[in-house]
Amino acid sequence: MALDDVYTEVLGEHSRNPDHKHHLACATCTMKGHNPSCGDEITLELNVEDGMVKEAAFTGVGCAISQASTDIMAELIRGKSVEEARGLAQKFISMIKGEITDEEELEELDEALALKNVAHMPARVKCAVLAWHTLDDALKSDK
């Protein structure tokens, strides 16, 4: 697999200049996620009202893959219902685990599709899924 199948422009853009890396004044829920073995740590901040994810942002440190993945996720889940957001998290994790490969089925992941090839890099799977597991934890506990 070529390196730029993983380190795509989309990934580079989101990791160098994340749109959603900041605190959220109106956060209704914050959740920490970490990969101790890598030293990656993120704090996800969500504004959830009436079963809708109104806003999402994050802070923390991590590699390009985990940072881009988090930023892309924050963008994607804004305006989605809690249920939809959790569905997306499931789908993303399945994609990275290589359990879903059908492009059509994955379509709704939108920009997150750019991370698809991390499935072929076992050592980096943890980086890609960190944010999405954290999201799932956050929404679970928000119920």
Partner: protein, 411 residues
Amino acid sequence: MADVQEFLKDFPLLNGEIDGKHIAYLDNGATTQKPHQVIQSICGYYGGCNANPHRGAYALSVKATDIYESARKRTAQFIKAKRPAEIIFTKNATEALNLVAYSYGLQNVGAGDEIVISISEHHSNLVPWQFVAKAKGATLKYIYLEEDGNLSQEDIETKITERTKIVAVTQVSNVLGLKNDVKSIVKKAHSVGAVCVVDGSQSVAHMAVDVQDLDCDFFAFSGHKMLSPMGIGVLYGKYEILDAMEPFLRGGDMIEYVQEQESTWAELPSKFEAGTQNVGGAAGLTAAIDYLEGITFDRIEAIEKDLVDYALPQLRELPYIELYGCDSKQDNKTGIIAFNIKDVHPHDVATILDNDGVAVRAGHHCAQPLHRYLQQNASCRASFYLYNTREDIDRWIAALKKVRGVLGYGA
């Protein structure tokens, strides 16, 4: 210095391909590759001499016992221990250090006592001492670093006090690659009546070690970092100290008499070797020692120094590279180079290098307190060994130059 050493041919993994690529293996601090002489010694053992040692009255078992006890003698010679009985085989350095923590630490450290370690210890020579300190109500104190990454001489002088019962320190830091003057630390420890535990995991494969000259009370290392198989490690301890200690693991072969309610212990070294030991691993360790001594540490040190001297000036030319432990004011740098690339996380660096078949490690290298002290979340580490070549360095540096580009940063 010839660029490619004639013995490179002995290492099958380095001559083969992994996923279609020749590997520039620069993670020797984590584990080393094995020459066919070592691999052969393991196969030869299982194919022709395998039995449970110490337990049989038949020829095969005697052979296995011989192989096992010869490994002990060879190891004793290797680190210049006074007697073979001072060599205890464990599964790795971590077990060796835990043995000291449980069987010496818990018995000899009390409330209000102090244990002194350095901030650059590997977790395996750190977390066991947290455990002992907490269990006994003792204080765990740290020796911090000078600007250049060496242990603070002032801390050594002031933190080791009359209350200190144990000083535990690594001979070479597995991140900064700096050699500590453990002989003088041992002296300081003894001057206050403390014992000194030396972690030799990063030294024993790279330089001649003489435990009697160091005068350390304990010395721990792993076989797998010195060309041997995994699953064999060594604890050296002074005879009188080991002899006075309680056992650690209990069971077969470490006993003298077992009554229903009481037992007495075998003599050293058996007292600390419970259950069936790794004879195949011991055979491999003997082969590795033979191999290393055949090459000589003078030559190994020269090879590693050549690689460091070749790499460092090139690295310093890259403005986006930050180096750790590379400006020591003492002549004590070993073949370990820790670094970071500006803006890029170490894991991305390792992945990008891996794509060119260059294997370096990324993360905290089991030294979180040191990284926190250096105010780094993580780092990359290239660590050299006798089979590495200038070509490996070239490949490493060429790949490093690509990293920022891959992530869309300017150079």
